[in-house]
């Protein structure tokens, strides 16, 4: 029973991963990643990590994937062109990936970990449940816990700063004070010029590649 469940979940995880890489439309890649994450949650449950599995489903499949779907819908699911800047990239990259897999497998299976081909020790029923993980997080790992909360706060603030709409670029028309601040006589000209040059350089190449 456990083996059947493992292979089903492993197949789902692998299929989802390959789907993320192979799908041409980014929206389908996101959907494939959701399949992958749910299969991974099943694998975590098989490893008696109930809290990690629940967090996986809630945090990833619930929150992060919604963010991805919104961003893909916002920027538009552009299908990638088949143009490749490095010749043979589509062929060489899977070769390199296979090399990484073989290397990692040799490193892991060649290590002299005795317990690796065992089931693991017998654990009590409460292993990996929220109570146990929470106790560890709030007692032994309190400082990493607080540090990760600060990291989350910084990431949220940083994302708002990065993605915030500049008021001068807004179509709604800038306010007087802001317009004066945004246009100093000399300092502002060079970055905008550079940006315009960059976009003019980039866009024909992109459209040339897509046709």
């Amino acid at each position: 029973m456990e083996a059947v469940l493992f292979f089903a979940a492993a197949l789902g995880a692998l299929g989802g991963a390959v789907g993320v890489v192979a799908m041409r439309n980014p929206l389908y890649s996101v959907l494939a990643l959701i399949v992958h994450l749910f299969s991974l949650a099943v694998l975590f449950l098989l490893l008696t990590a109930a809290f990690v599995a629940a967090a996986q489903v809630v945090v990833y499949a619930g929150a992060v994937m919604v963010l991805y779907v919104f961003v893909v819908a916002y920027v538009g699911g552009d299908v990638e062109s088949a143009w490749e800047p490095i010749p043979g990239q589509q062929f060489l990259a899977p070769l390199l990936g296979a090399a990484i897999f073989v290397e990692l497998s040799i490193a892991v299976l060649g290590s002299s970990l005795q317990a690796l081909d065992s089931h693991g020790p017998h654990v009590s029923a409460g292993f990996g449940n929220p109570a146990g993980i929470g106790k560890l997080l709030l007692e032994r790992f309190l400082i990493p816990f607080e540090a990760s909360s600060i990291l989350l706060l910084l990431a949220a603030v940083g994302a708002v700063v990065l993605a915030a709409r500049r008021r001068a670029e807004d179509a709604g028309g800038p306010s007087e004070r802001f317009a004066r601040e945004e246009r100093p006589p000399s300092g502002d000209s060079s970055p905008t010029q550079q940006r315009r040059v960059a976009s003019e350089e980039g866009l024909p190449a992109a459209s040339g590649g897509r046709t």
């Binding site: 456990e2 493992f6 492993a10 995880a13 692998l14 991963a17 890489v21 980014p26 890649s29 996101v30 990643l33 694998l43 975590f44 098989l46 490893l47 990590a49 809290f51 990690v52 967090a55 945090v59 990833y60 992060v64 991805y68 893909v72 920027v75 990638e80 800047p85 990239q89 589509q90 990936g97 990692l104 497998s105 892991v108 299976l109 317990a115 690796l116 081909d117 065992s118 089931h119 693991g120 990996g128 146990g132 993980i133 560890l136 997080l137 990493p144 990760s148 989350l152 990431a155 940083g158 708002v160 990065l162 993605a163 500049r166 670029e169 960059a198 976009s199 866009l203 190449a205 992109a206």
Partner: protein
């Protein structure tokens, strides 16, 4: 199932994610492949935590999840900022920082 099955599966998933990062050029899909690699690491952590029989590896996996969420948020913010500037969403076109 023995622990080595999980570890081999995790290295396979990591390799698939690395291949995706090498092949794809859309920043959104590259972030998705990064997620694949982080999740492969998580699977290995949880598998080894089961092998040793204590829960600290699972705490580590939760922290990795937090870091992954932060990375996604900042990355998607960057993508939205790139899109707002009307720059192409293609990592081979965005090369102003190349030395």
């Amino acid at each position: 199932m023995n622990v080595e099955w999980y570890v081999v599966l995790s290295s396979l998933l990591f390799a698939v994610g690395a291949t995706g990062i090498l092949i794809r050029r859309s920043p959104v899909v590259i972030l998705l492949c990064l997620e694949l690699m982080l999740n492969a690491g998580n699977l290995a952590l949880v598998a080894f935590s089961r092998m040793v029989g204590n829960q600290q590896g699972q705490v580590f996996a939760v922290v990795v999840m937090v870091v992954a969420a932060c990375e996604v948020v900042v990355g998607l913010g960057l993508i939205v900022a790139i899109f707002r500037r009307k720059l192409p969403l293609d990592v081979d076109e965005l090369r102003e920082l190349r030395g």
